[in-house]
């Protein structure tokens, strides 16, 4: 068990790097607290898996340090770091039985036979694999195999952290849900640091206490699901999380005010600097209302999801989506929108201004 710290970490798969895009992971600074349930969220190719492999020691980072409990581990191999990792595709040892598969990490560490036996049975019980222990592992279904991979990560009681690299990709949707709750339950039971990599926001938001959002090799925000929703620190977090995502409209900053089409918009904080190449205003559809005065728009379409209505509107600066109550009457044709001040943010070069 340990607190994991990543310091000024960057990694590139290329020998020489000329631009930011050459880095798979860049300038990562983060503390993973002991016992936390973290989700590492981001689209495919944003560097999640690279970051995970750096923590476990499968990859040596180009720059930066990795510390476990403030002790440098950058030069240690995966065995010495004592990390458990579960991969996207179930990895099982075909020729072994389920029991031997689960016992394998312990046998490699020369643990006594009866201790192994007790531990394997305990984990098998937890994962509902007890009845198949003497079967050959290769005969199991995909989710059975993934449970074995999972089990191999869990049998070692002293691991510093358990990391999951999109572990439910190959699992059927209905089993996905079951396994996900199982993981959550496991976390509460064994209270070990868990890092869960995924590109699925539902998975991330249901599993984790803290969600770490990655974009183009950088960590753009770390926070609780509520933080990410209410105050996205980066435009990427705004539109990646939430359905539909945040509205982002090009605007001007003038004398501390945010001007959208010549109209001053009240935002969460005043803008102090004016030194950006790209300036935007961001507000989630949930925080927009119809009003008698405000931003003039044309209502384009309304879709009713049952719980609420999603309204597409066209303003002079671009399309704006808003969410209205299912009972609310939607004006047709021209209308005015107002944004809730405390949830409306200004973004300079994609980063929040606060």
């Amino acid at each position: 068990m340990a607190k994991i710290t990543l310091k000024d970490l960057s990694h590139s798969y290329l020998k020489t790097q000329s631009s930011d895009a050459d880095w798979a992971v860049r300038d990562v600074n983060i503390d993973w607290e002991d016992g936390g349930a973290y989700a590492l969220l981001g689209p495919s190719g944003c560097g999640k898996t690279t970051l995970l492999n750096i923590i476990s020691g499968l990859i040596n980072p180009t720059k930066g340090d990795i510390l476990f409990n403030d002790k440098m581990v950058s030069n240690l191999n995966p065995v010495e770091r004592n990390i458990a990792q579960i991969f996207q595709f179930p990895v099982i040892y075909d020729t072994m039985t389920v029991y031997d598969n689960l016992a394998f990490p312990l046998k490699n560490r020369k643990i006594e036979e009866d201790k192994i036996k007790a531990k394997v049975h305990e984990i098998a019980e937890m994962l509902e694999l007890s009845s198949t222990l003497s079967n050959r592992a290769s005969g199991l279904t995909a989710d059975g195999k993934q449970k074995i991979s999972l089990g191999r990560g869990l049998v070692r009681s002293d691991v510093n952290a358990i990391m999951f690299d999109e572990p439910l990709t190959v699992i059927d949707p209905h089993l996905k849900w079951i396994l996900r709750s199982k993981l959550k339950e496991l976390h509460q039971k064994i209270n070990r640091t868990m890092i869960y990599v995924t590109h699925d926001q539902t998975e991330a938001l249901t599993f984790a206490d803290q969600v770490v959002v990655m974009h183009e090799g950088q960590i753009v925000q770390t926070g609780t699901p509520v933080d990410l929703f209410e105050k996205p620190k980066h435009t990427f977090v705004g539109y990646f999380i939430g359905s539909p995502g945040m509205n982002l409209l090009p605007c001007e900053f003038k004398g501390g005010d945010v001007i959208l089409n010549g109209k001053k918009i009240e935002t969460h904080t005043k803008v102090k600097s004016n030194n950006f190449s790209k300036t935007e205003i961001g507000v989630r559809p949930e925080f927009i209302n119809f009003s008698s005065d405000g931003i003039p728009v044309k209502v384009l379409s309304v879709s009713n999801t049952g719980r609420h209505k999603i309204v597409d509107t066209q303003s002079q600066s671009g399309k704006i989506k808003m969410i209205a109550k299912a009972s609310e009457d939607i004006p047709s044709g021209s209308a005015f929108l107002s944004f809730k001040k405390e949830y409306t943010y200004a973004y300079g070069d994609d980063w929040i201004i606060e």
Binding site: V79, F87, N108
Partner: protein, 288 residues
Amino acid sequence: MNKTINQKAWFFVIPVFVLVAFNAIIPLMTVVNYAFQETFGNNVFMWEGTRWFKQIMLSERFHASLGRQFLFTFIILFIQIPLGIAIALTMPKEGIGVPICLVLMSMPLLIPWNVVGAMWNIFALPDIGFLGHSLNALGFDYNFTQQIGDAWFTTILMDVWHWTSLVVLLSYAGLQSIQPAYYQAAEIDGASRWAVFTKIELPKMKKVLTIAILLRFMDSFMIYTEPFVLTGGGPGNATAFLSIDLVKMALGQFDLGPAAAMSLIYFFIVLLVCWVFYTLMMRNEGNQ
């Protein structure tokens, strides 16, 4: 699904049938024909029943060449399979080394068999061949045309040189298809290099190795050209494997009946061994 009954479809099978008939069935039937009869030419045949089969089965000459054949095949399998796997394991997995290794490995496979035989014959000649001369210069009394041990050594060396590459290429393909996650998981599980080999690589290579063993068994069991060119079956009959012996009987002595019976027995041995081997491998597969 309802199948349409249309007997005209058989017409489409005719080309294949004709082809197979001409290159397999008719020649085989000719051999079967010879195996039960005696002929002195002029298209005069006399029925002999199973006489040639009995004669071959009881013949010491056949037993000896069959024994030599099995010994040879087992020796080369025993060398080529482990050696092939070992070479495949040491080959680079990416980078410029991959095409270089692949081309180098394929070269022996591209050389015609009689050329291989001729090459090794010259290479191993005790007086002028590089190998033969060097061995003698180093103090070994080496002469593959006179000494039985040397003849076997050279034949086996030639076959290993010619065919290990096939095992290497198949094993390499098997190794390359293993997903990196397996190695990463093994690393995290703390597996030793030996455990990675026995628990991951070998099981994952099982299918290609089955094919490699089958191919190498069949090819080596039917080997003819290379030892014929290298040693001609000699010294004496020391390297007269089944095919060489068969050709001697059929074309050298013109004993068509016994030779035909021998070919059939030969054919059934190959078929039987392949079938037994394949069934065993596949039965294991079914258990999984």
